[in-house]
Subunit: 227 residues, 2 copies
């Protein structure tokens, strides 16, 4: 959406349009500087690192990824999971404040930050969407902060509901991420996440046919837990 608005400001020669539509063989070269390109990442590979220069802005095409920050002693705070359509890597400063890694095999759209900012400088619609995207991130971040003051069952319930909503599933959620990822997102240990899920299962609130698949059996109970 943001990147759509951006691309609308860039008149592309037909050759580049073709490149953009085709899977780019090496998207670091070619059309990126102009209108963005595609890149793919294997699971658990880094897309950018904390303190790296924030040269590009990304939009998820397919797959799942996580952004996170590390404390000096190794504790990890997963700040967000990103799904198709989400924009990430958008910083106000010149450097990334968090790292981004692929959770599953992931394909993203890449745009030069400088090009995006330049477009925003003379196109009000791009500027508006730039702001909106950042404001949406802010809202998500505050929502995430709210999670962290709740009890473990409340956090897990909120996580499952949020995921179900974002992935628009009817009752069954496929978890792309590990228990450790979930734990680091919720500010818990993976043992506590696991225990809470089995607790939910024995209460009939969810089913866990396999560890990465959750069937929501009783959403209102989850919502009640959510506070």
């Amino acid at each position: 959406m943001l990147l759509d608005a951006f691309r609308a400001t860039v008149p592309l020669p037909p050759a580049l349009r073709d490149v953009r539509r085709a899977p780019a063989p090496d998207p670091m070269f070619g059309c990126i500087e102009l209108a963005g390109g595609r890149m793919s990442f294997e699971p658990n590979t880094e897309i950018f690192g904390q303190d790296d220069p924030a040269e590009y802005v990304y939009q998820v095409l397919s797959g799942t990824l996580r952004t996170y920050r590390l404390l000096s002693d190794g504790r990890r705070q997963v700040s967000a999971f990103h799904f198709p359509g989400d924009v990430f890597g958008l910083e106000s400063g010149a450097e990334h404040v968090s790292s981004a890694e692929a959770v599953t095999r992931t394909s993203v759209l890449v745009v030069r930050r400088s090009a995006l900012l330049a477009a925003a400088a003379h196109n009000a619609e791009v500027a508006r969407q730039l702001w909106q995207a950042t404001a949406r991130e802010l809202q998500r971040s505050q929502e995430h902060g709210l999670l962290l003051i709740k009890s473990a069952p409340e956090r897990v319930a909120a996580f499952l509901l949020g995921l179900a909503e974002r992935l628009r599933t009817d009752g069954t959620v496929e978890l792309p991420m590990s228990r450790r990822d979930i734990a680091d997102y919720l500010g818990l240990t993976m043992e506590t996440v696991s225990r809470t899920l089995t607790q939910f299962e024995s209460n009939g609130i969810i089913e866990l046919p396999v560890s990465r698949r959750v069937v929501l059996r009783n959403r209102s109970a989850l919502r009640r837990l959510n506070g």
Copy 2:
């Protein structure tokens, strides 16, 4: 800064300039709709509430205020404290997602959100600062999230260091907010905050001449705690 850029876009008749400079007797009327006005708030009074229409954007002139969200059972998450210069109340949606209250007697600059957005739509500099202000909030919010995964001493240490930095004090921090405010910001109870502070004091890391004044005796110890 954001509001400065905004005001530069609005040619004011001299009469309004005068009103803006003088302490407004009733700032809800008069010049607000055009270029913003001043408002004052007594301690613990509401500036806006969660779910209120986000009609205005604010900048702190003097004093301290808190923004917070409530959980249905009454738990309160203070999302941020705002000090002179800070912009707050800036939402992407049409409604506030958090409430704002004065901590001390506070004076703020007020601008109609619609006027600000209109200015941003045809002035790139206003648009850029609008984005920057939001991005800065996002960064603060993520920093705040990082706090919430730490231990109680780490949180309190980070809080003191952050406050000392934002208030540009040399060694002595005057706390405008209560222990409960601090606790709700840090995701702790006020008892734990109090105990941690006395712990710090008996370790010689800080002094507490009175409960609202903290003298930082050993910043590197605090930084070490910070993780």
